[in-house]
Symmetry: C2
Subunit: 326 residues, 2 copies
């Protein structure tokens, strides 16, 4: 039923959610861009949008793309877009930009690198701004994914900049986590710090035409050999590539596909998606509780309470009690 609402549609320039969804499904890039903006803005319309698309989701392959700054994630994203377009897939890229809450958005850089795809309606590229909200990524990205999925994208890359918490989040979002490494970016302690071994489903060793790439591969092999895999576990393959020239991209896409197949055959795909959905539902529930807390009489008192805590007259727990009327 929701399906029929998705196809019959009317233009998509207006703010009517059904019309926007229909237009986005028909390939209107502006309608899709507006839907994703509604997600970023936590629009009240999201509720009806999510209801409308619920039955149309679950088809897209979500590939997380992460790695330290400078490994060439954006270049690789571009190369993968090219590859999937050559194979006639509709592909989306959500670049999760942890940039400053002050500038409040994404920089030109990513977009410039992706410019060759700017006029292709089968490619959707968006730098998502989390606007300084901790956990903003956790709430907005699953919903943007949900929309791209419902309107017919086959593959969605979620690219994160940086290391650390963003990677932990991406591991819970993606079907397949692609970790990009490159020679010349610090020692193995740095790599291990970022926890990449545990979250990677596929390693792309970028800049494999440069000196040092053999060492990177050897180090990763050593670390992987020390990890203990069960007989039915997936063992992350290492794929040497050179994103700038396109070398190895076909092999990389094949490795991603093999992982996708393994996920389905082993039943892990459903496990991952259930876990992702639990997180998503919890985040929404928490956001609603937070909103309710904001409406409590205590909220207007936060300034005064903080003042008393700063002055050493109150401890933060007692202040929190007063805030939520506990």
């Amino acid at each position: 039923m929701a399906e029929s609402r998705l196809t019959g549609s009317s233009g998509g320039r207006g703010a009517d959610p059904d019309a926007l969804i229909g237009a986005a499904r028909d390939g209107d890039p502006r309608a899709l861009a507006r839907l994703v903006s509604l997600v970023e803005d936590s629009s009240p319309q999201l509720r009806s949008i999510m209801q409308a698309i619920a039955s149309a989701t679950g088809q897209a392959h979500v590939v997380g793309l992460t790695g330290s700054p400078g490994v060439g994630k954006s270049t690789l994203a571009g190369a993968l877009v090219r590859h999937y377009r050559d194979h006639d897939h509709r592909i989306g890229v959500l670049a999760v930009d942890p940039s400053s809450p002050f500038t409040g958005g994404a920089l030109l850089g990513d977009r410039v690198r992706m410019q060759e795809h700017a006029t292709d309606d089968q490619v959707f590229i968006r730098s998502m701004a989390t606007r300084g909200h901790l956990g903003g990524l956790a709430q907005a990205t699953p919903q943007a994914l949900r929309i791209l999925d419902a309107v017919g994208f086959d593959v969605v890359l979620v690219e994160t900049v940086g290391v650390g918490q963003a990677e932990v989040e991406i591991a819970s979002l993606a079907d397949t986590v692609l970790v990009v490494v490159a020679p010349g970016l610090g020692d193995s302690i740095q790599a291990a710090k970022a926890g990449i071994l545990e979250i990677a489903d596929v390693f792309a060793v970028n800049k494999s035409d440069r000196p040092g790439s053999q060492e990177v591969i050897r180090d990763l092999r050593t670390m992987l050999a020390m990890a203990s895999y069960g007989p039915s576990d997936w063992k992350p393959p290492l794929v040497p590539i050179a994103a700038a020239t396109g070398a190895g991209i076909g092999d990389l896409a094949a490795a991603i596909d093999r992982h996708r197949y393994w996920l389905g055959a082993s039943g892990r795909l459903l496990d991952r998606r259930r876990a992702r959905t639990r997180e998503e539902v919890s985040a929404i529930a928490l956001g609603q509780l937070r909103q309710r807390a904001g409406q409590l009489p205590g909220a207007s008192r936060l300034d005064e309470l903080a003042e008393r805590v700063c002055a050493g007259k109150l401890d933060p727990y007692s202040a929190a009690d007063e805030l939520i009327g506990g």
Copy 2:
């Protein structure tokens, strides 16, 4: 009154909060380590600990230390510890480790680099594990800071690994944000991406004895020149250092002190601390609401709800409604 409880104490080996606080104040490193562990574990005892120390806080200078992987943050932290110890300050280092939720903790690396201070009771070094909790840093770090502050540390460095959200958090935690940059770590777009210009109070240009450091300084100067500062704004100084040899560390500490003085004289110190405290109190309140939500009848149904969302039979908003009984 709380003050008197802090001084008269008895040993500090037991779990009694008052005794632990007293012992930590007297310089017992194990008592302090236990207190910080109580914070990491979100112990129920925290409430009474925070009550006991409320009136003793507000003295320590909190310095955030951040920058991309490989710029030498840990080496610089070690150099600053040495400097402050030479000037007879009691100094704490909280290294916030965004490492994997799978390994669940900090790696040996940081601690090894800090080993020379391991036997100095006036130095407290701790790699805090956020255990994969998003926002875990937001809740635990202010409380660990509160404890170090109350037991008499003059300076606390909060070191974050990585870029992105952690930096946004540190900007809200620290009195002074020290951003470390170094030559050879990517172009200025990468730097700007991380939003470092907006959060930095002081720039340390590390490895200033290496080629390329003049370019880094020039680029930063250009970017700072484009930013618009009012006549009463603080203009972040650039301090060339070589953390490994200790060169420039005295200048850097002087710049940090100047910023601390400016904060006090301009009234901004209280602004920052009020904002920090608002965040802290909100985080505690939110945690309590979250706990309440976990006790709602709907929580046991999260698995079932996620299953229905995955199957396309329910949208995530309706699932959240059911979860919180809305």
